[in-house]
Symmetry: C2
Subunit: 243 residues, 2 copies
């Protein structure tokens, strides 16, 4: 079962310098999970053309979907469009449909600074949706989203269903066993169930359990088989609960 | 003025799948800022040896300091140590001092699973501090921190002062001008003050201002010169306040 993969590229000095706390990657983490897409990478980089170009080139080649956040306004620190164009060796062209919409929206205020918002990497696709005043912009497998969280959310929500695939299944087992004592058995079960991602998370503050084991897969049968095998090797007296 | 740079590498399927919300990168963002270190990259990657190796190799070469978070426990999904060893073509060796401490702490419970916690990339450095029961581990310029937030925080706080350099200076200007109308003047001021990082952040929800302009530099005089030049080109009637 091939699972589509995704990466999030957050572009913004304001995140790295702590002026603004990221909300957009956080939203996409939960959204992509719910859509059945495997998020494999989050990168936060500065407002720098070469950094954007290098990151987009790398992520676009390695993952099915790339979502960028930020850097799409009209000022000197907005370098996402030019960075994406450079990543794909595309020139930047004024998109006639976007230009028309800007003129219709701004009327006689549609000066060069505003019209420049119609400049996109050559070959970009506009994705329209009834919920959006402005269309989403995509270049190859890169979806270009704004940094302002309300706008980011509205745009992503308008296009989210195009990414939906089969869901993930998940189980969790809580135990009072120590991770050191679990490690060997856990490795054996993990090795014999490559389709199931098994995670082990110790808690040093919970009084209820010492380790939370998580099992995830797109294959519900595979997950149940792994749970069964795991339950057989866990210490029954230290078992807390499963969910 | 050369500013030391840093990267944060968060290693953990649990972050990418949304089971756990990152707190460690968030802590380091504010800490590094306060210490005068320029954070240039955050990457979140899965529990995968090759991914860790590739990321560590890249980040370690490009930035002065690299901080890893997570993947240092005893279970199969803890691959940070082996990934870092692979990044630097080092073998993994049992560190005699760590081994001695594990034996002293666990007594006769110090089995192979626990002793394995003394296995580190060859040439790693232990950093001791009175506040720490276990020393910090560093390999070249890579500081290896645990994923559990309480432990991450305690370890980083114990070693933070070794990274302190001259502070950043920052100013902010709030205006009711539109970003489209500001863009050209802003670019001119930014171009003539390369030592000052100027950011422009629109707000669509604030009633007080439309754009927040930020100026940051290690050079207090450079920042004041840029503020002065900026104030001269801003529309006085739309100026809100500065801080």
């Amino acid at each position: 079962m091939s699972v589509p993969t995704a990466a999030i590229l957050v572009i913004g000095d304001e995140i790295l310098s702590g002026k603004t706390e990221d909300q957009n990657a956080l939203l996409l983490i939960s959204q992509l999970r719910e859509l059945g897409v495997a998020l494999r990478r989050i990168a936060v980089i500065p407002d720098d053309i070469d950094e954007v170009a290098a990151a987009v080139r790398d992520l676009s080649a390695r993952f099915n979907h790339v979502f960028t956040s930020g850097g799409v306004g009209p000022t000197h620190d907005d370098v996402t469009i030019i960075g994406i164009a450079r990543a794909f060796d595309k020139s930047i062209v004024r998109h006639p449909d976007l230009e028309r919409r800007i003129i219709s929206f701004f009327g006689e205020d549609a000066d060069e600074s505003r019209l420049r918002m119609a400049d996109v990497p050559e070959g970009s696709e506009l994705i329209d949706s009834p919920e959006l005043r402005w269309p989403m912009l995509a270049c190859k497998n890169v979806y270009i989203l704004p940094g302002v969280p309300e706008h980011f959310r509205r745009k992503f929500m308008a296009i989210r269903e195009r990414f939906r695939v089969a869901p993930f299944f998940a189980r969790a087992i809580y135990t009072l066993e120590d991770e050191f004592d679990l490690a060997e058995n856990l490795r054996t079960v993990a090795d014999s169930h490559p389709q199931v991602a098994i995670g082990s998370y110790p808690s040093f503050s919970s009084k209820e359990y010492r380790v939370k084991l998580t099992l995830e897969s797109k294959d519900a049968d595979a997950i149940e088989a792994a749970v069964k095998e795991l339950m057989a090797v866990l210490d029954r007296e230290k078992f807390v609960r499963s969910e």
